[in-house]
Structures are given as structure tokens and as C-alpha cells.
């Protein structure tokens, strides 16, 4: 039993972290909060990949001339680039939030939807008259 827990506890804790991120994305109306939730989700995916790469008794994959066991370097490469791409896309998301705030005066989902509906009603009235 303890063996089974020790073999998988990392995955479980990372999945819990992932689900906290998902809950923030679904339940919070504030757009900045939503992006932070996405970031938490993203970080937990990174951690999942790196956990898969870990080898017991292994070291960081840098050759020193001694015979050593290395952790799997391939996920490290994938995640290393993904982190920098992640910050670039997060910046794009925040830029969209800034523009939404400039257009609607709010970054709360409810307010934005209400403003959209009010505008639609005005458009319908104008079309009817």
C-alpha cells in the first residue's frame, strides 16, 4: 500500500494542483484571475512532465566525465521552451484584457456580458424603428 502511494503521490498532488487551476478558470469571473488560473494549470502540466522524467538516483543531465545515471533530458527540453512560449502567450492574454477594459470599462465577465446585451437591445430597437 505504501509502495503504491510512494509510486504515485507526485502525480496525485500535481493533479490536485491542476484541478485548483481549472476551478479558478471556470468559477471566477475576473479575467485577470482567469489567466492566473490558466497559469497554475500550465505550471502543473510542466511539473507533471518533469516528474515523468525523474529517475531515482539520477542527476541533472549534464555530462561530467564520470559514469552516471541521468534523468530524462527530453521532457526538460520540451518544458524549457514551453515556459518561455507560455509567458509570451500570457502577455498576449493580458494585452487582450487591457483592451477589453478600455472598450467595456470592466474586466468582470458579468459586466461585459451585460454591456454586450444592452448594446444588442439598442441595435434591435434602432432596426425596428
Amino acid at each position: 500500500m505504501l509502495d503504491a502511494i510512494l509510486a504515485h503521490y507526485n502525480y496525485w498532488l500535481i493533479i490536485i494542483l491542476m484541478m485548483i487551476g481549472l476551478y479558478i478558470v471556470i468559477s471566477r469571473g475576473n479575467l485577470v484571475k482567469k489567466i492566473v488560473g490558466l497559469n497554475i494549470f500550465q505550471t502543473s502540466v510542466f511539473l507533471l512532465y518533469i516528474t515523468l522524467a525523474k529517475v531515482t538516483g539520477g542527476t541533472a543531465p549534464i555530462l561530467t566525465g564520470k559514469p552516471e545515471i541521468f534523468s530524462n533530458p527530453l521532457p526538460h527540453v520540451l518544458i524549457l521552451t514551453a515556459i518561455v512560449v507560455g509567458i509570451a502567450t500570457t502577455a498576449l492574454g493580458f494585452a487582450l484584457v487591457v483592451r477589453i477594459r478600455e472598450s467595456y470599462g470592466s474586466i468582470e465577465e458579468d459586466d461585459i456580458l451585460a454591456a454586450e446585451r444592452a448594446e444588442e437591445e439598442i441595435a434591435v430597437k434602432e432596426a425596428l424603428s
Partner: protein, 204 residues
């Protein structure tokens, strides 16, 4: 460092990560959320070092602790500093999260054990890369040799994505505010700050 020690470090860091994520969820002051996001990145960088991914930890510390916190503060300066709605409990969201999380945890039973040296991911190309990095390329950092040489196409694509995201931000925010006032894009002037008109703000 022994394997037990690493296990303890992993559990402690992952638990702290979960707690800071919950705190981020519950806090309404977005400035505090930005500070906690920086701490969250630092904790995950520490965890990445414990998992032998030094290159990744380096990147995460520089990106998450530095740039992303600054970007988030910049966004807050341009928008608002508080979440206006109080955090509300959402049953559908909880159900979705429990269903997804349950399915994922059920799926982990098929995953190789943590730290298993015979995991399938280690058997296929990785030994070739490690030997090649030693003999053919002669670069001691295996991550660099895979990143730049074996997976050069991949990295070229990633750089193109970063380039595209930079261009996107330039298009979205590059022009000054005054240009947009002429086009009638801005319905609410900069003086109309919703924070000042919120009655609940004074109470909290």
C-alpha cells in the same frame, strides 16, 4: 541527498504550491494575487531543482519570478486592482473539476512508478541522445544539445511562436491611447475608475 529526503522535499513543496493556489483562488486583492503568483513560481522552480531539471528551474525562476510578475502588475495598473465580485461557490465548476480530477487520478494507476528507471519514455531515443551528446556533438549539457541540435526544428518553431506573440502584443497595445479616442473606441475615459464608485470597497 537520499531518496527519502527528496520525497519529503517534494511533498512539502507540492503541498505549499497547492496552498498558494488556494490562496490565489480566495484572495480578491489582485495585487496580492500578483505577489503570490511570484511566490508560486519560485516554489515550482525549487521543486524543479529537486526533480533534476536545472535548466527548466532556471527558466521558471527568471520568467515566473521576474517577467510575469512585472507584466501582471502592468496589467493591474492599466485595469483595476480588486476583483469586484466576492468569491462565490460554483457547483457545476466543482462537479467538472471532481470528474476530471477523478478520471486523471484513475489514469495514473497505469503510469510508470515515480523515478522508475525502466519507464518506457527512457528506453526509446533518450539513450541515443545521451551517447550522441557525449561522442558526436561533444556538448556536456545534454539539454542544450537536444534543444539546439536534435530537436532544432522544434526550437525554431518555438522561437517563431514567441516572435508571433510579441508582434501580437505590439499590435494590441503598441499604439497610444489618444489614437483610439479619435476612433471612438474608448467608451469609458481613464477618469471613470469603477473602483472609486464601488460602495463595498470602502467597507473592506
Amino acid at each position: 541527498m537520499g531518496a527519502e529526503m527528496i520525497t519529503i522535499v517534494n511533498i512539502v513543496l507540492l503541498t505549499m504550491l497547492c496552498f498558494s493556489a488556494v490562496a490565489i483562488m480566495l484572495l480578491r486583492h489582485l495585487f496580492a494575487v500578483a505577489a503570490l503568483t511570484g511566490a508560486f513560481s519560485l516554489l515550482s522552480a525549487g521543486l524543479l531543482v529537486a526533480l533534476d531539471a536545472v535548466d527548466v528551474a532556471f527558466t521558471e525562476a527568471a520568467v515566473g519570478g521576474g517577467i510575469s510578475t512585472v507584466l501582471m502588475l502592468g496589467t493591474l495598473a492599466l485595469t483595476q486592482r480588486r476583483e469586484h465580485r466576492p468569491p462565490r461557490f460554483s457547483l457545476p465548476a466543482l462537479l467538472v473539476v471532481i470528474a476530471t480530477g477523478g478520471a486523471l487520478i484513475y489514469a495514473t494507476s497505469d503510469m510508470p512508478a515515480y523515478g522508475d528507471p525502466n519507464a518506457p519514455a527512457l528506453q526509446h531515443v533518450v539513450p541515443v541522445y545521451i551517447e550522441g551528446s557525449r561522442n558526436d556533438i561533444g556538448v556536456p549539457n545534454i539539454v542544450t544539445s537536444i534543444l539546439a541540435s536534435y530537436r532544432g526544428y522544434d526550437t525554431l518553431g518555438e522561437v517563431a511562436v514567441i516572435f508571433t506573440a510579441g508582434i501580437g502584443v505590439m499590435f494590441l497595445l503598441g499604439r497610444r491611447r489618444e489614437d483610439e479616442d479619435d476612433e471612438g473606441m474608448v467608451r469609458h475615459g481613464p477618469g471613470n475608475d469603477p473602483e472609486s464608485s464601488e460602495p463595498e470597497e470602502t467597507a473592506s
